[in-house]
């Protein structure tokens, strides 16, 4: 029954669209997308004081600057040891705050758990991909990111390649490791990479800074439903993510 009425509604809506488009259409030339002006490459942060400097920054530097501008924290590591050091430093610092992390959830990215086990801070628990119901009790989620966008300081999470859809979202702290080689300059470039094969992964999430709201008197508040702290470790050494 549902199917036949759905089919009827589908036909009625499409028919209505065609009927209404037919009327008065001759007043408007059909626009050819290929004939449109090409939008210029986007130049960011071209304000007078840093416009010149922005040109000479590397992708990693631009990413770091943009991430920090939206309240994210950025570490740059050149070796595995430096990644472990960065993780140690982040967790140690958090221990002194009211977040006081005890339970750490880690995604199933290859090699990630091994790195986390090397961290020289005591935590009560490290679990790889806890169940969604359990995840609410965790304080930190550690994942990798499949890519990043320099011009906006954005992480790109492809959750068909790593179980991080919830680990990157539910705990109040998210730490992500991204390979410097996977940082793209622009949003447009990133979109074309995501669409390279003609198909797009089932769930791709862009993350730009911690969760935020200004719904009460437009007062910016960091940390609503998603993480209130976002740390990104950019890995300039041997790539972690095999792509």
């Amino acid at each position: 029954m549902i199917n036949s009425s759905n089919q009827t509604a589908r036909e009625a809506i499409l028919k209505s669209i065609r009927a209404h488009l037919g009327v008065g259409d001759s007043f408007e030339p059909r626009i050819n997308l290929r004939g449109l002006p090409v939008v210029n490459a986007v130049v960011h942060a071209q304000t007078s004081e840093n416009g010149a400097a922005a040109q000479s920054l590397s992708k990693v530097d631009v990413f770091k600057k943009q991430l920090e501008a939206v309240n994210g924290h950025c570490f740059i590591a050149h070796t595995e040891l430096q990644i472990v050091h960065a993780l140690t430093q982040i967790i140690t610092e958090l221990k002194g705050t009211e977040l006081n992390p005890k339970r750490v959830a880690v995604s199933d990215a290859s090699g990630l758990e091994r790195l986390v086990r090397l961290v020289a801070v005591e935590v009560e628990e490290v679990t790889v991909t806890p169940s969604p119901a359990d995840l609410f009790g965790f304080d930190i989620g550690i994942t990798t990111a499949q890519a990043a966008i320099a011009e906006t300081g954005t992480l790109v999470l492809d959750s068909s390649r790593e179980r991080h859809r919830l680990i990157s979202l539910v705990p109040p702290v998210h730490i992500a490791i991204v390979d410097a080689a996977n940082i793209y300059s622009t949003l447009a470039e990133t979109l074309s990479v995501l669409h390279r094969t003609g198909n797009v992964s089932p769930i791709v999430t862009f993350v730009t800074g911690p969760s935020r709201t200004a719904d009460i008197e437009l007062t910016l508040t960091i940390g609503v439903h998603g993480p209130q702290e976002l740390y990104v470790i950019v890995n300039e050494g041997q790539p972690l993510v095999v792509s």
């Binding site: 669209i17 002006p37 210029n40 906006t152 995501l194």
Partner: protein
């Protein structure tokens, strides 16, 4: 308290003008949003090109909407998404209530969606015995207060933190505080349990990409990610005009939408959902349903001038720029969509007769057109709707037509014009007090002329006309 209708717009607006709390909040919000938008637009060196491109993409989509919709649906269906077509609000609600019954859902979490506000989905679900929880902080606040959104992107813009604190204390039993971070934390903690318990998540859609069958949803809080990731069923409600042709087109719209809405370079999260998860054991819902809503939209395609209303990407920039919205806020419009775009969309969605006052809720200053990221000519649309209203009401306006015919007859005859001006100069002294014509008990001005004087004073005509002065003095110089 605020379930006003568009039919009583004049009264609603008058009441809003006396609300000093509201006007203070509106002044802060609209000026801050406006400032941030200007700065964000200036951070790109090709803002105008982007607007032109975005509008061209929308025009292309809308003029072949059937084609792009079918492409979008077939691509997403191939990836396992179920589609439901709804000709009107009632049909959409029936479909969604049917799905809640099918999945035996008792609790539904919702992320912000103007389209479900338009269909009044929450009322329908509650009547069906389903508990609905709004999860966007602003929407959650107004749901607790039994109100409606007053701004497209900041639904609770009209409420002070004091009012919100009182609301949380009485509804959630939280300790009184006026610390915004503390209030936000209370909402986070309360809603976590709801997310964990929900059977279905309902979201809106910002863009449906025809080329790939992807739905793209844009947000800052993370509640959309939770709504679309945790429950085992995700239902997305989407107006048929939300389609864009190509995956690459996302670039233009993601540059325009956050900058125009909140002045951000990019909002915190964008979820690109293309079909259902590839492995059953992966995280995320088992099923994804999309409800496609017409509800008067296809009708707007008929003329190029009205068709552009469907290009709107719901950024809210025109609200912030509008001198009328800045004074009266969103509720006075008595419609789901407020502000200039609301004054244009509402009469087309619910009928001219029910919203005949809204196209007049504008000074036609054009500020909305200046800020619109997809270059919708809102003033032209307002004039078009006014013309339709006037033509439709021709029978009731015989007096007005007669008056304007007489006026035109006089104005095209110079002698008569001079004579009538002289006559007016004499007669006006019946109404002038303290050098102005105003609506006072001693000089009661009767309808319809009182429409001019009830809200403002008129300056009387000068003692001598320009022609007289020219003759007397200036021509001899």
């Amino acid at each position: 308290m605020n379930h006003l209708t568009a039919e009583t717009f004049d009264e609603n607006a008058k009441a809003a003008l006396t609300d000093t709390h509201l006007r203070g909040a509106l002044r802060n919000a609209t000026s801050l949003f406006g400032e941030r938008r200007r700065e964000a637009a200036a951070s790109l060196n090709n803002w105008e090109d982007l607007r032109t491109q975005a509008r061209a993409i929308k025009d292309e989509t809308l003029s072949h909407l059937d084609k792009y919709l079918e492409q979008f649906v077939s691509k997403a269906e191939a990836r396992g998404v179920h589609f439901h077509w709804a000709e009107n609000a009632a049909a959409a609600n029936e479909i969604i209530c049917g799905l809640t019954a099918k999945y035996a859902a008792s609790t539904v979490v919702k992320s912000k969606s103007m389209t479900t506000e338009e269909t009044h989905l929450n009322d329908a679900l509650e009547s069906a015995g389903v508990q609905v929880v709004e999860t966007d902080l602003g929407e959650y606040i107004i749901q607790l207060a039994h109100e409606t959104p007053s701004h497209i992107i900041a639904p609770a813009i009209h409420k002070t933190k004091g009012q919100i604190a009182e609301l949380f204390t009485s509804e959630l039993g939280s300790a009184p505080t006026d610390d915004v971070a503390e209030l936000t934390r209370t909402a986070r903690e309360t809603l976590r349990d709801r997310f964990a318990a929900a059977d279905i998540g309902i979201s809106g859609v910002n863009f449906g990409i025809a080329e790939t069958g992807t739905i793209l949803i844009v947000e800052n809080e993370g509640n959309i990610r939770l709504t679309t990731s945790l429950p085992r069923v995700h239902i997305a409600v989407m107006g048929i005009e939300k389609v864009i042709p190509r995956f690459a087109d996302v670039d233009v719209f993601l540059k325009l939408l956050p900058r125009s809405g909140t002045g951000q370079r990019l909002t915190a999260y964008q979820s690109f959902i293309t079909g259902i998860k590839s492995n059953r054991e992966d995280e995320g819902p088992d099923e994804v349903h999309v409800v496609l809503l017409d509800n008067g939209r296809s009708r707007m395609l008929a003329q190029p001038i009205t068709r552009q209303s469907l290009a709107c990407i719901r950024c809210g920039a025109c609200l912030n720029a509008c001198p009328v919205y800045q004074q009266i806020g969103g509720h006075a419009y008595g419609s789901v969509y407020p502000g200039p775009i609301g004054a244009v969309i509402t009469p087309q969605l619910i009928g001219l007769e029910k919203a005949a006052k809204l196209p007049y809720a504008s000074s036609l200053c054009g500020a909305c057109r200046e800020v619109c990221p997809v270059k919708i000519d809102i003033p032209a649309l307002l004039l078009h709707l006014r013309a339709e209203i006037t033509e439709g009401a021709s029978k009731q306006r015989i007096g007005e037509r007669l008056a304007f015919s007489v006026w035109a007859w006089i104005m095209t005859r110079p002698r008569l014009y001079v004579l009538s001006a002289r006559l007016s100069r004499w007669l006006q002294w019946l109404f002038v007090r303290d050098g102005k014509i105003s609506d006072k008990p001693t000089t009661k001005i009767f309808s319809p002329l009182a429409a001019w004087t009830s809200g403002r004073d008129l300056r009387p005509l000068d003692d001598s006309s320009f022609r007289d002065r020219w003759k007397k003095e200036l021509s001899h110089r």
